[in-house]
């Protein structure tokens, strides 16, 4: 009895994985046609990107500021508080900006995507489109997916820059690290490689988070409870997958 239940659980997990993978392939096939409808895409970039701007900028500022504070406290024990700029820039570019942006994106934009598409499913809008021979994958799912993929690297870049200025604000204005030293040490140690590592990560996270959000919405139970559950699953799966992928990508880049 128990083993049967466990087997079912395992099978259900496998089915879900396969369903996501197939969904990704279908979505990728629809991406090029979706680019031909820039109006739809712009709306989704606005929803996923522009409307996440405030939360991303605020979070970036405070993450950068706390990085400046903690970094300064730690580094001045070794008498090397000049390395604050280096520590803050590398920490932000490589890890904090991509990961925190992805987590915030999952909470801010991912949930909106899932519940929107889930409600479309629950109110039979998707079925109605299918009946009219309009492919909902192309007109509903693909633009939302692409919008998320495009928005994520841009949000990450904004997060990095704001965070760096936050660290500079605390380190230079509050703690008295020399401004010239802060920037020259940063410029001396940051490589184009570090910037591209962060961007590559954010692109992968963008694909992962958008895919999960759109997939969960598209395949949610067409009930109020089902949409709620799908939204929860989006946040959990996106967050865990982001952190897992982060480790894999970091290992690959180092």
């Amino acid at each position: 009895m128990n083993s049967v239940a466990r087997g079912n659980y395992l099978l259900e997990g496998l089915r879900r994985l396969g369903s996501v993978a197939l969904f990704l392939l279908q979505l990728l096939g629809q991406c090029l046609p979706a680019l031909g409808r820039p109006g739809l895409l712009v709306k989704q970039i606005y929803n996923a990107g522009a409307r996440s701007l405030i939360i991303i900028m605020l979070s970036g500022l405070f993450v950068g500021m706390v990085l400046g504070l903690q970094g300064y406290d730690l580094l001045q024990r070794f008498g090397s508080e000049q390395a604050l700029g280096t520590a803050a820039a590398l920490g932000l570019l490589r890890e904090l900006a991509p990961v925190i942006t992805a987590l915030l994106f999952a909470g801010r934009a991912g949930t909106a995507l899932t519940s929107e598409i889930g409600l479309m499913r629950a109110t039979d809008q998707l079925t109605a489109m299918e009946i009219m021979a309009v492919d909902p994958l192309r007109y509903v799912a693909a633009p939302r997916f692409l919008g998320g993929v495009i928005a994520m690297p841009l949000l990450t870049a904004i997060f990095s820059v704001i965070g760096l200025y936050g660290a500079q604000l605390v380190g230079v204005q509050l703690m008295g690290v020399d401004r010239g030293v802060f920037w020259s040490q940063t410029q001396g140690s940051v490589d184009l490689h570090d910037v591209s590592e962060g961007l590559a990560k954010s692109l992968v996270f963008g694909v992962a988070c958008s895919l999960i959000a759109v997939h969960e919405g598209y395949h949610s139970e067409p009930t109020a409870e089902g949409v709620g559950l799908a939204t929860t699953r989006t946040v959990v799966a996106s967050s865990v997958l982001t952190l897992l992928l982060d480790y894999v990508l970091t290992a690959a880049f180092l």
């Binding site: 709306k43 522009a50 008498g79 090397s80 508080e81 841009l154 030293v181 001396g188 910037v195």
Partner: protein, 184 residues
């Protein structure tokens, strides 16, 4: 139509911000990137050093521990094989004696390099384009250690084990290539 317009403006703003941030990260952060931003006010003074260590553009120039300006350029002089450092002084520090002494020093034990000035005694002051003649190079920790080993080995005499001898000769070799200074 109206809603569509604000939507497009918002998206445009977001994309613009995103690409501006990307541009900043790729061009301004790595040292190889191009530098934007106009020249700051102040006057420029040059000084020649034998060795600048890891002095960087933007490193502070101080006197008595107070920041007077910053390093605005480092280039190599192919004629007499020296590093020429250009410093920008803030305009309010206009009365620095012309025969001041510039040395490259280290912040903390492992910190970055900066230029420390000690005042001279002349009544003529540094002005835009003038040169500081008396300079002292950065102290490179490795050559200091090499020198120490060389002295240590020679003071011990030649009767000791081969290991120290080998180290000593290596140290001296490096020393000779750097400066013409006869080992003791």
């Amino acid at each position: 139509m109206r809603a569509n317009r604000t939507l497009e403006i918002g998206t445009g703003l977001f994309v613009l911000l995103g690409f501006a941030a990307l541009l900043f990260l790729t061009t301004q952060l790595p040292a190889s990137g191009l530098k934007l931003g106009g020249a700051k006010a102040g006057y420029h003074v040059t000084a020649e050093f034998d060795d600048v260590g890891d002095l960087k553009v933007g490193s502070p120039v101080t006197m008595s521990g107070v920041r007077l300006g910053e390093v605005s350029g480092i280039r190599f002089d192919p004629k007499d094989y020296k590093a020429v450092v250009t410093m920008r002084f803030d305009p309010q520090y206009s009365q620095i004696p012309e025969d001041s002494f510039a040395s490259i020093q280290t912040q903390g034990l492992l910190g970055g390099k900066y230029i420390g000035l000690s005042p001279g005694g002349l009544d003529t002051y540094l002005k835009d384009g003038s040169r500081i003649d008396q300079t002292q190079s950065a102290i490179v920790l490795e050559s200091l250690i090499n020198k120490f080993f060389a002295n240590y080995a020679s003071s011990k005499g030649s009767g000791e084990g081969g290991g120290t001898d080998k180290q000593a000769s290596q140290g001296q070799g490096k020393d000779n290539s750097g400066k013409t200074e006869s080992p003791k």
